[in-house]
């Protein structure tokens, strides 16, 4: 398939809609699965990996889904295309570059489902939803998991549940993450307080692009840590109750800001927009920080003619691989920063703070 056709579309997680979308960007659930009687990916021979890929590819191709999946072989993609899929969160950084050999990903047109083959676990099933929608994400991936399990035998054991390459995933193999945008908690310096509650109940906070990534632009992912001894539904309920609590804090902080420091917030938002509209060099980190302020401005109705969806689009389009695809040539360092600034200037020409 030609990945370039994806550039003009927004994946499900960036639609900017769904429940609680003023604070919650997206919901994502992944399941880790392996085939019975086959070594895990990192200990498999190239021949075994090829066999696993063929078996899973066939199982995936035979699925009867309302939204059909397209399989892309990652091993044969150019580096920029792999990075492109990472930016869209269709594949992990590991599948893109750390692992080698036969591997791939199947996803649907809406980019609401992605199935990675020969990741650290042989099958990583993911479902994405815009906003806070744990139930819909779970139902979708649970269903696909059932269908695949009808075609291949999973490695499973009564005591340990679904067996995974890393013991941190064993049991349900489920990691559910909710991505939150918490600029007001950041501005009012309450973020640490809000996250203290999480550690007590075994939830983890990470940056935008998962494990090990920094929390840029006030984006945070909250996910479950425990996978053994707690059912999927119980884990989802824990996450939901904590996320609803954080949403409440963030909204309170936003209204406090609007009540007590409206002028300052407005100024911060207007300056962010102004910089994006006129700078001639822009790193992706700075873009992220400024767009975060603009997103807050949109949600607080301080900027009239911009939507959250447009801001999301700018987030993804200014990532390195997307930018290079939009420009149509390979760019590095300063040339990329100049192209990013040019793109932002053009797109935001008509927007203004009210």
């Amino acid at each position: 398939m030609n990945l370039n056709t994806l550039t003009s579309r927004l994946g499900e997680w960036l639609r900017g809609t769904g429940p609680e979308s003023d604070v919650v960007v997206s919901t994502r659930i992944r399941l880790a699965r392996n085939l019975a009687g086959v070594p895990f990916t990192t200990r498999a021979t190239p021949h075994q990996k090829a066999e696993t890929e063929a078996r899973l590819r066939e199982a995936i191709a035979g699925l009867d889904l309302s939204a059909p999946l397209v399989y892309v072989s990652v091993a044969s993609l150019a580096a920029v295309d792999r990075q492109f899929l990472v930016e869209r969160q269709l594949i992990s950084r590991e599948l893109a570059g750390v692992l080698d050999g036969p591997r791939g990903v199947a996803f649907d047109d809406r980019e609401a489902v992605s199935l990675m083959v020969n990741e650290e676990d042989q099958l990583r099933l993911q479902s994405m939803r815009s906003g806070l929608d744990l139930d819909a994400a779970w139902d979708a991936i649970d269903h696909i998991d059932d269908l695949i399990e009808g075609r291949v035998e999973y490695a499973f054991n009564d005591d340990f549940g679904y067996l995974t390459a890393c013991p941190t995933n064993v049991g349900t193999g489920m990691r559910a993450s909710v991505m939150l945008h918490l600029p007001a908690l950041g501005l009012t310096k309450q973020i640490d307080k809000a996250f203290k509650a999480l550690q007590k109940i075994n939830l983890v906070v990470r940056g935008l692009y998962g494990e090990g990534s920094r929390a840029l632009g006030d984006f945070f992912q909250v996910s479950n840590q425990v996978t053994l001894g707690k059912s999927e539904v119980a884990s989802l309920n824990d996450i939901r109750s904590v996320v609803l609590e954080i949403i409440k804090y963030e909204r309170m902080a936003r209204s406090t800001l609007m009540r007590e420091a409206r002028q300052n917030v407005h100024d911060k938002v207007a300056r962010a927009l102004g910089t994006l509209q006129s700078a001639t060099m822009m790193t992706s980190e700075e873009t992220m920080e400024l767009l975060s302020a603009v997103r807050l401005g949109v949600n607080l109705k301080l900027i009239g003619d911009l939507t959250a969806t447009t801001v999301n689009e700018l987030f993804i389009h200014t990532q390195p691989a997307h930018l290079q695809k939009l420009v149509g040539e390979a760019l590095d360092g300063e040339a990329r920063n100049a192209a990013r600034a040019r793109y932002l200037r053009t797109r935001l020409r008509t927007a203004g703070a009210e």
């Binding site: 070594p39 650290e120 399990e149 499973f156 340990f160 049991g171």
Partner: protein, 166 residues
């Protein structure tokens, strides 16, 4: 401002204080990178190190037995798992069970068994095995004329049969 090492514009500015003397450096990105002043990409979670940390707190198991344990199925030594943080195959969970259980207790915060989803074909197999076991016990109950037990077992078998899946 220009880079101290070449003529490109300086974008990295460093200030440090050595023996109460302030020292400033101005470099371009390329030179800073070359001199390892810019930190590399966001760090991956170092799983081996984490496991090491977790395992380090455990009472050291009888040295020879733990280090020399090898999975008979895939040939992965336990030592490999300790170094890499990844198991070799599903059978490792049985082969290394006694060593993994205390580890799981720490990384998973409990010693609990799996609760949650069970693959349907596995559940079916479990039901068949359970039924066979109950039937054998029923037979011996009848033979031993323990009719109360027999009645109870028959009910259990019936309950198992009733919830069969396609």
């Amino acid at each position: 401002m220009k880079c101290q090492f070449c003529s490109n514009p300086a974008t990295v500015h460093l200030t440090d204080i050595v023996q109460k003397k302030k020292r400033e450096m101005h470099l371009c990105e390329a030179c800073a990178r070359e001199k390892n002043l810019i930190p590399p990409k966001p760090q991956e979670l170092n799983i081996p190190a984490l496991l090491q940390l977790v395992l380090g707190q455990l009472p050291v198991p009888a040295k020879a037995s733990a280090a020399d344990l090898v999975c008979p199925e895939c040939g992965t030594p336990y030592a490999h798992f300790r170094a890499q943080g990844r198991l070799g195959c599903p059978h490792d969970y049985d082969a290394f069970r006694s060593l993994l259980e205390p580890l799981l207790e720490r990384v998973q915060n409990s010693a609990a068994r799996h609760t949650g989803k069970v693959p349907r074909r596995h559940a079916r197999r479990m039901r068949v095995a359970r039924k066979a076991e109950l039937e054998a016990r029923l037979k011996s109950a009848v033979a031993g004329e323990r009719y109360e037990d027999a009645a109870r077992l028959r009910d259990e078998i019936r309950a198992l049969g009733a919830d069969h899946e396609p």
